[in-house]
Amino acid sequence: MPESLAAFFAMGGYGGYIWPCYLLGAVLMVAVLALSLKAARDRENELEILQGNRQDRARRRAALAETASQGEVPQ
């Protein structure tokens, strides 16, 4: 039904006012959501990497201390 579809988009002659409004609403909401989602993911990934590094380093240090103390044990 192309005619009624055209009538729907025309919105009684006010389509030029109504559709930009809905479009802007959609664009703003999607943009804010996408930016917020990206910020949360990026920061949480970065934190995970940092904490991973810290744990790795702690583990390495512990392992090093262990071998060092083993080395000191007289044979």
Binding site: L28, A40, E46
Partner: protein, 244 residues
């Protein structure tokens, strides 16, 4: 209240309610759009332009309620020095600014066919524009200092001082003669609006509100992770300084 003010607990609760919020928001917005665009009648005076109301009015409500939330969070941050309140205030600002902008633009798009002007400098429109600038000022100020806590405090004070604008917006249509119509939903004696139009209006409002909570959770998560990253970096710098 303080039981919920712990970031770790906040993250746990947020993780539980997040999928529910996403579902409710999607449903409300989908149903709201269906009613707003297809299943509601044209107004007897304003014709099809009444469909602008389903964006314009909920966006205006969000602009004002987000600012109120921001002012309350700012007060809590200033009085109790609570980091979570401070962070929630900052997480609210972009959503409030976006909805205020949407309200202003949709209002202009409604004003042109109905009033014959995109913009008039009347009390309601001007105070809403000031609200938008307050949001921008708040966001700019909170990032304007090298020491983030100083910026956050300055922004919180701006949010509190600017709150005087919110009641001005609400009652501007009663206090002054304006082109803008007075309240038809939130007024004494119940809403003066037909249920066929009230349903899409409230659905869109519920969709916007839950959308705000979703973005609030996401931005709070980013801020909490960011604060932890800063702490680890500081500890690293400190450790490196001691190692030398």
């Amino acid at each position: 209240m303080h039981r919920f003010a712990n970031p770790a607990r906040f993250l746990r609760i947020a993780a539980v309610i997040y999928p529910w919020l996403a579902g409710i928001s999607t449903l409300c917005l989908a149903a709201g759009l269906w009613f707003a665009l297809f299943a509601s009648p044209a107004d007897y005076q304003q014709g099809e332009t009444v469909r602008l109301m389903y964006i314009h009015v909920p966006a205006a409500w969000m602009g004002m309620s987000c600012y109120t939330a921001m002012a309350v969070f700012s007060a809590m941050a200033l009085i109790w020095k609570h980091p979570l309140a401070d962070l929630l205030g900052r997480a609210t600002a972009p959503v409030g600014a976006a909805f205020t902008l949407l309200c202003l633009v949709s209002g202009a798009l409604w004003g042109k066919p109905m009033w014959g002007a995109w913009w008039v400098w009347d009390a309601r429109l001007t105070s809403m524009l000031i609200l938008f600038f307050l949001y921008l000022g708040y966001m700019a100020l909170s990032n304007a200092f090298d020491d983030p806590t100083r910026g956050h405090r300055a922004a919180a004070i701006l949010a509190l001082v600017g709150f005087v604008n919110v009641p001005v917006i609400k009652w501007s249509v009663d206090w002054w003669n304006t082109l803008h119509q007075p309240a038809s939903v939130m007024k004494k004696g119940g809403p003066a609006i037909d249920p066929s139009m009230l349903v899409p209006l409230l659905l869109m409002a519920a969709g916007f509100q839950t959308y705000y909570f979703i973005v609030l959770i996401l931005r709070a998560r980013a801020e909490i992770a960011g604060a932890k990253i800063r702490t680890i970096r500081m500890a690293q710098v400190h450790a490196a300084g001691q190692g030398e």
